[in-house]
């Protein structure tokens, strides 16, 4: 890989990053939603990304996963450039197949679950095991049941998504991602679409994952979760990283005015 050379200087000084972004930016039409973002994620690290809506935090995660192609900069997963390659000095998009290869260590969970409605909970989990990993039906079923067990939903295996609660759907979605044995999990506002009483069951699963040493990036509004579980919190506003650091420092001694404001608004809303 010729790309590795460009990366060597930046990451050799630290523990080797699983996911690394250098100076990425993204525009939707005339609107610049991400501006020159640097980001690095070490193994077993849990990073929470917070910020007001429209701050670009979800777009950042989607760019790290190449669900949105970033315009400038580079995203590396395991030191491999994601989404682009060098072709005669020019940067061109790689094939979808290459994207899949580079992205293989990443699992993703979405705000709106995106379970496939025509598949049962178990089939949602086993689909990729069969299509991508080539497991037999029996192997995939065994593996899928184990995954559902892990999120406490083995008894719902034969149900279609429409008969599951929001919390159950999100747990199935987590099991679906975990089945592919990812080394990093991306969570894009995993509890934002849930009724308040269902948030806990999803956060419990995520807590357990973090405790088991899973590397995670979590875009979230759950400050409690961020304070408790994150190794590092990133505060974004208007497409830029405004502040980042350990949750204790960030929440207790916010340096920037914008973060202070953000935290105040949040406290006002959650005081009662």
């Amino acid at each position: 890989m010729p790309m590795v050379d460009t990366l060597a200087t930046s990451s050799s000084t630290r523990q080797k990053a699983i996911v690394e972004a250098q100076g990425i930016s993204k525009q939707f039409g005339d609107l610049e939603v991400l501006t020159d973002i640097d980001f690095s994620l070490s193994p077993s690290e849990v990073v929470c990304v917070i910020g007001p809506s429209g701050s670009g935090k979800s777009t950042l995660l989607r760019c790290l996963a190449f669900l949105e192609p970033y315009d400038h900069g580079s995203v590396y997963i395991d030191s491999q450039l994601l989404g682009y390659e060098d072709s005669g000095g020019k940067r061109v998009r790689t094939s979808e197949k290459r994207v899949d290869e580079v992205r293989a260590p990443v699992g993703m969970v979405f705000q709106h679950f995106h379970l496939w409605p025509h598949r049962t909970a178990l089939e949602n989990v086993t689909e990729a095991l069969r299509l991508v990993n080539g497991l037999s039906r029996r192997e995939a079923t065994a593996e899928g049941m184990a995954m559902l067990e892990q999120v406490g939903l083995a008894d719902r295996a034969g149900h279609f998504p429409e008969s599951l609660s929001g919390g159950q759907k999100q747990r199935v979605a987590i099991a679906r991602a975990l089945a592919m044995k990812p080394r990093v999990m991306f969570f894009d506002e995993p509890t934002s679409a849930l009724d308040p009483e269902l948030i806990g069951e999803v956060l419990d699963v995520m807590n357990k994952l973090a405790a088991d040493g899973m590397t995670m990036v979590v875009v979230t509004h759950e400050m409690g979760f961020a304070a408790k579980v994150a190794d590092r919190v990133i505060f974004m506003d208007q497409g830029r990283v405004v502040e980042s650091g350990a949750p204790d420092t960030l929440f207790r001694q916010p340096k920037s005015e914008r973060l202070q404001q953000f935290l105040n608004t949040w406290r006002e809303r959650h005081i009662d």
């Binding site: 996963a65 669900l67 899949d100 995106h114 025509h118 178990l122 299509l131 991508v132």
Partner: protein, 232 residues
């Protein structure tokens, strides 16, 4: 008074009409369904090249009466060396006309699958081809059944127009019986009933298919083999 004897005497004409209506509708609808699929696939695969031409084709089907299309094919065709028998003109006319509507139905179904379903699959490494065949098409199938059934019914009813270009279909033969017997109600009502029967069959079929595709009752999980249990 309803004179059923008239119908019995004219049974051969009625059956001939039924047969002609059925096979012309069947082939016409088949052509419409496949050509519509082709148009929709082209448009979705390459919107830059095919988007505008297909959209224009759809507008043509929506804006021009089927009768004009049939006349163009049957009476206008010979001036450009295209001589079709009335029945073939009927099949082609119904096919070309329906294709525009089906292209729109397919496209609508495809577009209404949430983008996130595709993203979730892609993040798991499922290839674009499998995303299409395992995630998008199965979901689309369920969405397009009701409007497609509806469109098929419309086409069967519109097929009565082929009688005007002299195909001996149900409508034409009913009119022949009316002219011969001077009884109006019996032949037309009998034929109306037959149309209704065909339509009812299509509606039932569509409904059954929709039910089958939409069956989302919890399913039992197949028990795992002993070998796997032994391994844990």
């Amino acid at each position: 008074m309803f004179d059923i004897a008239i119908l019995w005497e004219a049974r051969e004409l009625i059956l001939q009409g039924l047969w002609n209506t059925v096979w012309i509708c069947f082939l016409g609808c088949l052509l419409a369904l496949s050509l519509g699929l082709l148009l929709a696939a082209l448009r979705l695969a390459n919107p830059q090249v095919f988007g505008y031409p297909v959209a224009c084709y759809v507008e043509l089907c929506r804006g021009i009466p089927l009768l004009i299309l049939l006349f163009l094919l049957y009476y206008g065709g010979p001036s450009i060396g295209l001589t079709l028998s009335a029945s073939v003109a009927g099949v082609v006319g119904i096919g070309l006309y329906g294709a525009g509507y089906f292209a729109e139905i397919y496209r609508g179904g495809f577009k209404s699958i949430p983008k996130g379903h595709v993203e979730a699959a892609r993040m798991l490494g499922i290839s674009p081809f499998h995303v299409l065949t395992r995630i998008q098409i199965p979901q689309m199938a369920r969405l397009i059944v009701p409007p497609s059934t509806n469109q098929l019914i419309i086409l069967v009813k519109e097929s009565a127009l082929i009688s005007i270009i002299s195909v001996n279909d149900l409508t034409k033969n009913a009119t022949s019986i009316v002219n011969e017997t001077f009884h109006v109600i019996e032949p037309y009502l009998a034929v109306a009933l037959l149309y209704w029967l065909i339509i009812e069959l299509i509606a039932r079929g569509g409904y059954a298919l929709e039910k089958r595709l939409a069956n989302r009752q919890p399913r039992p999980i197949e028990p795992l083999g002993d070998t796997l249990h032994a391994n844990g």
